[in-house]
Structures are given as structure tokens and as C-alpha cells.
């Protein structure tokens, strides 16, 4: 059976990663719109100890799971992975190859793009047909704008898809599993996987906090964080931060909320001087009630907030601290 959409499956030590089913969900949606047969949706699974994962994916969205197993692909390296993806893309000649916009999906997709000589759209949130062509939607300028991209007529079309771009495929399928040689020898590789290790652990655990007051780059410096601390203290809550704050060492890493920090779901989240980039939002949008204070009325954070104040945080936050103290008596 020919292949229209090829999905690069992801797994962790043999456990299928959720993004795989979202990519399959997207593949089925695109195929449905184009009148492509579900039998033309395939997944590529690379690694070792992945027989169980392959069977699961075949039972949930992929008509065929192409499995490339071997010592050279035991742990992820872009060097090994891109060779497999390129080889399979060449032999299957799909219309489209979908990757997760994950640390490894985003790492390998450009390698494949350059190898195949085709353009790539990264961090996409939607794929649509427009004027007879596929159009890829994504955010640009750190979320300030939505960008719609056309990739031209070259095939395959390559895209990395953001988490949540499509609902995970959930229907049962009866796909088959087809092993292929990984085609990569350890001696060919210029990259060697060493290990996956835990990052540094901190003393604070925001995941359990009921109230979080977060500060962003808009604070302007470590010394300015007192306003945030005062409000957190008045409320009996914890201090959170966006990534630039911890990058610049204003606060330790464990305070960082977002895709590369912690995911929090307090009853109350107050974001001060935070623009609302997607990587931050994914870490706090599950909060019960979201307050945003930002001087820029167009800041994307207002899109997820329940209530917002457009203004200078150095005026609003101290006033709020005072009002909280008064209310508490």
C-alpha cells in the first residue's frame, strides 16, 4: 500500500509518547479532507525494545508501523535518526511527514529537510487546505502573531506539530507491523547517545501550590522581585517565574513555569510582566483563576487570563498587595 502521510512516532524506553497519537489524529484529519485512504497512513518507530509500542500504534491509528530497530538507534541521536527517516521517506514517498514539535522531533526534522532538499514548517498548530494547497499555521514573534505558511509543490511536505494541534487518535485500527533494517551502522555515526539524566532538583515544589504569583522579564531585575514576593506573601502563595527570569538567575530554576519548567494548576495564578508565550501558557493554563498584569494590551497572556489589568506592574502589584492585606484584616 502506498503511503500518503508518514508520522514519526515517539516513545520513551518503549512507552509510546502521547504526541504520536496526536500526530496520527492530524494525519487522519488531513487524509479525510483529501480523500486519502486510512490505509495510507503509516508510522515510523525507531529504537530498541519497541515491539510492544509498535503493536499499540498499529492498534490505534497507523495502518502500518514501520519499525527500525538496532544497536545504532538504541538511544536518540539526530545523526542516526535522520538517516532512518530519510531512507523511509524515500522508499515510501509520502505526501507529508509529520513530526512532533518536541525536543527530538524539532532536532531531527531540519536534518531530514536538508537531506531531502525540501522546506519544513516548524511548531505548527494547524494544517488546512486553502486555494488548492496545504497551509500550515503557527505562531511567530513568540506568540504575538499567527503565521500561515505555504511550502510549495515539493514533496514530501514536512512539519513539526505542536502538542494539542489535533486530538489524539483514539479509534481502534488493525494495522500491521513491518520491521525494516535500520540501515545505520554504529561505525557510521558521528554522534553517540550517552544517557538521559535528571536536571537539577530544587527546594521549591510549585506543583502543589494553591496560589502562585509569577513574575516575568517585565520585572527588569532580580532586585525588583520584592513586589512579587510581597504579594505572594500577602496571599500566602508561592513565587513563580517565566523562563528569562530563571535563565538570568533572578530566581532558581525550580520557580520556572512552562514547557521546560513545571506545569502548575493552582486555584489562583497571577502573571505579572509575562507576555504569554506558548511555552509559558502550557505550564499554567490549567490554573483555576488567572489574573494578568501587563503594560501591553496586545500581550497574548490576556488571551488565557480571566481578568486582566493593562498597566505598570510596579503600580498595580503593590496596590494589590495593600488591598489583599486590608481584605484579610
Amino acid at each position: 500500500m502506498p503511503c500518503k502521510v508518514l508520522v514519526l512516532a515517539e516513545h520513551e524506553g518503549g512507552a509510546v509518547a502521547g504526541i504520536t497519537y496526536e500526530l496520527l489524529g492530524m494525519a487522519h484529519r488531513v487524509a479525510g479532507e483529501m480523500g486519502w485512504a486510512p490505509a495510507e497512513i503509516k508510522a515510523l518507530l525507531i529504537g530498541s525494545g519497541i515491539a510492544g509500542a509498535a503493536a499499540e500504534i498499529a492498534a490505534r491509528g497507523a495502518a502500518e508501523v514501520i519499525v527500525a530497530e538496532g544497536p545504532a538507534v538504541q538511544g536518540y541521536t539526530g545523526d542516526a535518526w535522520h538517516r532512518v527517516v530519510e531512507a523511509v521517506a524515500k522508499s515510501e514517498s509520502p505526501e507529508m511527514v509529520l513530526f512532533g514539535h518536541t525536543p527530538n522531533g524539532w532536532d531531527v526534522a531540519p536534518l531530514v529537510a536538508a537531506g531531502l532538499g525540501v522546506p519544513l514548517a516548524t511548531e505548527c498548530s494547524a494544517i488546512a487546505r486553502e486555494s488548492g494547497a496545504f497551509r500550515f499555521s503557527r505562531k511567530a514573534f513568540n506568540g504575538k502573531f499567527v503565521q500561515v505558511i505555504d511550502l510549495g509543490t515539493a514533496r514530501p511536505l514536512l512539519a513539526t506539530m505542536q502538542k494539542g494541534a489535533a486530538p489524539a487518535f483514539s479509534a481502534a485500527t488493525r494495522g500491521r507491523v513491518r520491521p525494516v533494517p535500520a540501515g545505520v551502522g554504529e561505525a557510521d555515526l558521528r554522534a553517540r547517545f550517552v544517557e538521559i539524566k535528571k536536571g537539577q532538583a530544587g527546594a521549591v515544589d510549585l506543583t502543589q501550590a494553591a496560589i502562585i504569583v509569577s513574575g516575568g522579564r517585565g520585572l527588569g531585575g532580580a532586585d525588583k522581585f520584592a513586589v512579587i514576593r510581597d504579594l505572594a506573601q500577602a496571599l500566602g502563595g508561592q513565587v513563580g517565574a517565566s523562563r528569562p527570569v530563571t535563565d538570568m538567575g533572578w530566581l532558581p530554576h525550580e520557580h520556572q513555569v512552562g514547557s521546560s519548567g513545571v506545569t502548575v494548576s493552582p486555584k489562583l495564578y497571577i502573571a505579572c510582566g509575562i507576555s504569554g508565550a506558548i511555552q509559558h501558557i502550557v505550564g499554567m493554563r490549567g490554573s483555576g483563576y488567572i489574573v494578568a498584569i501587563n503594560k501591553d494590551a496586545e500581550a497574548p497572556i490576556f488571551g488565557v487570563a480571566d481578568v486582566g489589568v493593562v498597566g505598570d506592574l510596579f503600580e498595580i502589584v503593590p496596590a494589590l498587595t495593600k488591598a489583599v492585606k486590608e481584605a484579610k484584616g
Binding site: 539526530g78 525536543p103 524539532w106 514573534f141 547517545f193 536536571g199 489589568v309 498597566g311 495593600k322
Partner: protein, 264 residues
């Protein structure tokens, strides 16, 4: 060991962002520009290796219009040794794969062992140039570095940022291309002495014809990745916006927080 850092000039985050009249990009006229934040960390990573005597030369390269020379001067003032500015009107709107081809041509014969770049640019957020270049050079690469260590003259160990506070450790055989994530180090700022010294450093400007490349292949008109339109994001449910004097707003916020969450 020679090293290269790829840099980009991007609009500063606090610039007034407005759409252009055709709705395909932003209006550039009233923006202020600066060095892409991610690239400052990439430059710092190389300067640190130079301080440690492990890298002999740090070269900064950008592809961009005349105004982009400013970021090269920033790199030189911060400690880079020389710079290459690829400048050609035909490159406006070129897509990432074309730009990677241009960069490959511009560094041909240089013999860089370590090529670094930011994980992504703060304007388009594509995050492609580093690995695209690596593939064109047929060299290994790693993205989103949060740790970097030259093991010896032949290997670099990279700690890549994964999700859930984990790091993937990988060894690359040099020459290699590495893109860095913000927070990997503490970028230094240019000193007055550095700014003075930078005036004597070389910025070599090259155009497509110097590289033997054809605008019909790598220029903006040949771009296959094309922005059809740019628009303000949908407002979603949108927040209720409170207005008035700060103390009044504060009382209103307390009232809502009390009603909606019960935490006060």
C-alpha cells in the same frame, strides 16, 4: 580550534509590533533591533571556551541587510575575533534551507571545528538553520544545549534540554553544529575596552556573486517556504480588562479573586 557563531538581528521585544500593509510580515519602520537573545548565549559558550584556551578563534556570521552589521559589531565588542556579513538584496525573504546553503558557501574553506547558533530566532521562531547547515555539511548536530564540554580535540559532549526537567547527553565528533537554549550560561556584555578594540576588527562583507551562488536558486524569489499571511492571534475567550486608578483596580481584583477562588 576555529569556531563560528551564527547570529541574527531581530526586533527587540519591546518594539511596537504592527502588521505591514500586505499582512505578510511586520512593519519594520518603527522597530528597534538587537542581537537575538538565544545567540548571545551561543556566543558566550564560545567565548568561555576561548577564555579556557580551548578555542583559538571565534568568528561571528550573519546573513542580513545593512542594519544587521550592528549585531556583528556587538559580537566583536563582546569578544568575537572577526565577522562575516553576508549581504545581498536578493536574499530578502529567502527560506531557511536557502540561507543554510548560503552560510555553507560563505564558510567554505574556513575549517571551523565548532559551529554554534541560538536554538531559534526571536522573530520567526523557526529553529532550523543550525541543523539544516549541519546536514548540508554532513556533520553531526545537537539542538537546545544546556550544557557543553569539549572532551578533547575530537569530541564535544552536549546536554540537550528534554521535557520534564531532563537532559539527553550526547557526544558529537567534531566538527559539529550545536544550537543553544537560553540559560546555558551568563552572557557577558561588551566592555568599553571591547567596544574600542572592536573598531579594529574585521567585518568581511560578501554578496551572492562572491559565493558563486545564484539568486534564482537561493534568493527570496525562489523561496519555497513562504508566508501567506501574518495576523493577530484570535483573542480566545479573552480577559475582562479592569480600568481605573490602581487602588480601585486592586479592590476590584480582590473582590473577584475572593468570589472566584475563595483564597482570600
Amino acid at each position: 580550534m576555529k569556531s563560528l557563531v551564527l547570529v541574527k538581528q531581530v526586533p527587540s521585544a519591546d518594539s511596537p509590533f504592527r502588521l505591514n500593509s500586505s499582512g505578510t510580515w511586520i512593519e519594520e519602520g518603527n522597530l528597534t533591533f538587537g542581537l537575538n537573545d538565544y545567540d548571545r548565549y551561543a556566543l558566550e559558550a564560545l567565548l568561555k571556551l576561548k577564555d579556557a584556551g580551548k578555542v583559538a578563534e571565534v568568528v561571528a556570521l550573519t546573513v542580513g541587510p545593512e542594519r544587521a552589521a550592528t549585531v556583528l559589531r556587538t559580537c566583536l565588542a563582546t569578544g568575537a575575533d572577526r565577522a562575516i556579513h553576508v549581504k545581498d538584496a536578493a536574499l530578502e525573504g529567502s527560506d531557511p534551507l536557502s540561507l543554510a546553503k548560503v552560510i555553507k558557501a560563505a564558510i567554505q574553506g574556513e575549517g571551523f571545528s565548532l559551529i554554534m547558533a541560538g536554538l531559534q530566532a526571536d522573530d520567526d521562531n523557526y529553529g532550523q538553520i543550525g541543523p539544516l547547515l549541519a546536514r548540508l555539511l554532513d556533520r553531526p548536530s545537537a539542538t537546545a544545549a544546556m550544557g557543553l564540554e569539549l572532551r578533547d580535540g575530537t569530541t564535544v559532549r552536549v546536554e540537550r534540554e528534554m521535557e520534564n526537567n531532563r537532559l539527553l547527553v550526547v557526544d558529537l565528533t567534531l566538527p559539529a553544529v550545536i544550537t543553544v537554549q537560553t540559560g546555558i550560561n551568563e552572557p557577558r556584555y561588551a566592555s568599553l575596552k571591547g567596544i574600542m578594540a572592536a573598531k579594529k576588527k574585521e567585518i568581511r562583507t560578501v554578496a551572492l556573486k562572491d559565493l558563486g551562488l545564484d539568486a534564482a536558486e537561493v534568493g527570496g524569489r525562489a523561496a519555497r517556504l513562504r508566508t501567506v499571511r501574518l495576523a493577530s492571534p484570535p483573542k480566545g475567550k479573552g480577559a475582562e480588562i479592569l480600568k481605573g486608578p490602581a487602588d480601585e483596580i486592586a479592590r476590584e481584583l480582590v473582590k473577584r479573586i475572593r468570589e472566584k477562588t475563595g483564597v482570600i
